[in-house]
Structures are given as C-alpha cells and as structure tokens.
Assembly symmetry: C2
Homo-oligomer: 209 residues x 2
Amino acid sequence: MSQLETKDRILDAAENLFSDKGFSATSLRSITTLAGANLAAVNYHFGSKDALIQAVFRRILTPLNNDRLQRLDALEARVQEPSVDEVLTAFLTPVATLWSESKRGPVLVRLFAKTFAEPSTNIRDLVFSEFEGIAARYIPALARAVPHLSRREVMTRLHFLIGSMTHTVTNWDMLAGAPGADELIEQMVTYGAAGFRAPAALTTSKGTP
Amino acid sequence: MSQLETKDRILDAAENLFSDKGFSATSLRSITTLAGANLAAVNYHFGSKDALIQAVFRRILTPLNNDRLQRLDALEARVQEPSVDEVLTAFLTPVATLWSESKRGPVLVRLFAKTFAEPSTNIRDLVFSEFEGIAARYIPALARAVPHLSRREVMTRLHFLIGSMTHTVTNWDMLAGAPGADELIEQMVTYGAAGFRAPAALTTSKGTP
DNA sequence: GTCTATACAGTGATAGAC
DNA sequence: GTCTATCACTGTATAGAC
C-alpha cells in the first residue's frame, strides 16, 4: 500500500476500477477495499458516488485542457496565422499524449471516452463546463483559420471533430490493425481539416423548388 | 393501458424510461409498474435486465439498418457510380428520419446514441454485430467513391463519421440554435464528404528525418 | 405458457460512536 | 478522520397459482 492519503488512494482505486468495469458495475465497497479504506470514507471525502466520479474526471480533465491551452498559446506565439491543421493538431495531441502514457494512459483515455454519451449522471455537465475555457480559445482560432464559415458552423464542425475523437478512442480496438496514436492523430487531422475547409453548407431547409 | 401483450408493453416502458433516466438509473420495478406487469415478468420474457436492454436496441436497430441497406440499393440502381456525398446521405438519412418522428423519434435517437461509448455491457457488441451487414455494403461503396484511399483508411474515416453522428445526436442540445435534422445532415455530409475526399494521410510513423 | 408473490444477497447512503 | 451498524432499494431466482 502506498503512503498516499486516503482521498488519493480512493481516487486511484476508483480510476482503475471504473475504467475496468464501468461506473455502475463498480461498487463503493470494491473501491474502498482496493484503496484500503472504509466504505464510509467515500461519502466523507466526496459526498456520494456520483461526486467521486466527477472528482476522478476533474483530476484528468484539468491537466488535459491546460495542455491544450498551452499548445495553442505556443502555436499562436510561433505562427501569425495558424492553419486549421495546426490548430486541430494542438487540440488533439494532448489526448494522444495521454493515450501514449505507458500504464495510466489507456485507463485515462477509456474513462475520458466514457464521458460523452453518459446518460443521467452529471459527468456531461462537468465536461462541458471544463470545456468552456477551451472553446473560448479554440473557436476564435478556428474561425480565423476558416473565415468562410459562420461562427455557428465552426462550432458545429468542432462538435463533429470531438465526436470523431471520442468515438475513435472508445472503439479503438474495433479498428482493424489498431494504428498507433500518432498515426491516428495524423489521419484525424487530415480528415477533420478537410472537413473544416469545405465550403459552408447550404442552409436551405425546406422544399425542393 | 394498451391492448398490447406484456412483452411489448415492457419493451415500450423500458424504451421510454431508459431514454429518460439511463440504464442503471432505471429499475426493473419502475419498468414493470409502468407496463402494468409483475416484476418477475422481465426475467420470464427476457432473462435479465441486460437482455432486456439488448432487446430494446434490437427493435430499433434492425429497421434502421434495413432502411440504410434499402437506400444504398436504390442509390446504386439509380446512379452508376455514386459519389461520397450520395453514399453518406444514404447512410445518415435514416437516423435523421428516426429523429424527425414526432414522438418516438427523440426517444429512439437518444437511446441509439447511448449505444456507443457504453462501458461494460454487451450493447456495443450487439450494435457492431448488427452493423456488420451495413459495413459489408457501405465500405465497398465508399471505397469505389474514394479510390485513392486504402480499404483500411476508408474504414477509419467511416469510424470518424459515425463518431460525428453519434456525438452530435447525443449532444444535440449543446449546439447553439439546435438546427433541424435536415440541416444537420446537410452539414454532416458536407463535412464528412470533404474528409473522405482528402488525400491519404502519410503513414510515416516514427522519426522526423 | 403466463403470471404472481416472495425471498435473497448486494448496493449506495447515513447517523452516531470513537 | 475513521469505523460500525443499519437503512431502503436494487437485480435475480424460484415455488406455485391460473
């Protein structure tokens, strides 16, 4: 057993068990047993199972998003008008970096992928609130790189890109050959940048005149 | 209460409750109460909660995928060499059609979106097995439309597209303005088709020479 | 075959002693 | 901060009624 405090031991145990068996299938008893703590410690330190889940995610997302901001800062300091490819690379690379971490990586990315499309928990809200700072920086950067798109269409296409990212990470093993993280980032940037560069979609909604 | 048989009443109730509160947050008791059935009826008709979830999904996915196959058949009967845009439209439209159904639509699509990124259940496997027939028809059609890509890269980009689709549907309400289904399909086809048409990504994996 | 009533082990949560 | 005891509720299984 490590020298860490109870709170951190619980977070570590929860991270591993959630990633392994999912949220609902992981009982607080199995977490506290693995962490060498008492069952009630979870409710004392975090308040509820749901709050524990959120704490696990916050511990991952904060550094990830900081990395994203840092990369965009560095990019804009280096290049006057960054291309879509460069901005998307800055956006996607932190995920690949996490993924490439030898041991904790796969655990974290699997958890991160589960964030979206989760039904009733507050995870989605947490992720989107953590994401606000990212959007505030990346959407203007993207809008400058693809000035032919309205702000709204930039946001829509960013959603498309995020969907590609999360789905790919989630179903990594379904991709035949299972390419490395670097290679996949490359393919995703190629695909996404071309999508962003595509002309604005017509907004003719109704009839066929 | 309807005249339907118990089995169907349970499926209807489960579909609505799952879509509303998620899978783990929905108890079998709440399902059977809403369906006007006894608790044990679930295990009698389906075997387990997990099997019930799968049955709910199968009832949605089978007609959806049949619609996809039918549209591709019709397209290839009409056009000799369908474009990426046309193939992607055939692929995506059934989802939009489901979505546009006034009452059941939103329920189904929310459920369908939860299919991916689900942690430990067998849902993912079910969806992918149901998807095999689709892939067998659509991947060759796409490969013919974008002959500059290897078969593997076609599959990878199809994954990207599926991710965009599911994430967009899941987080529909996060998109400012919440465009209509038709408009969103149009934007997704524009984005995805451009992505498919992009040149093959370099597969230089390692160093920077 | 279909349905009911009931029992059981495991769950998240909480109050209160130490 | 930590622990024990206890709560209401969950999914599942089964014996037996119609």
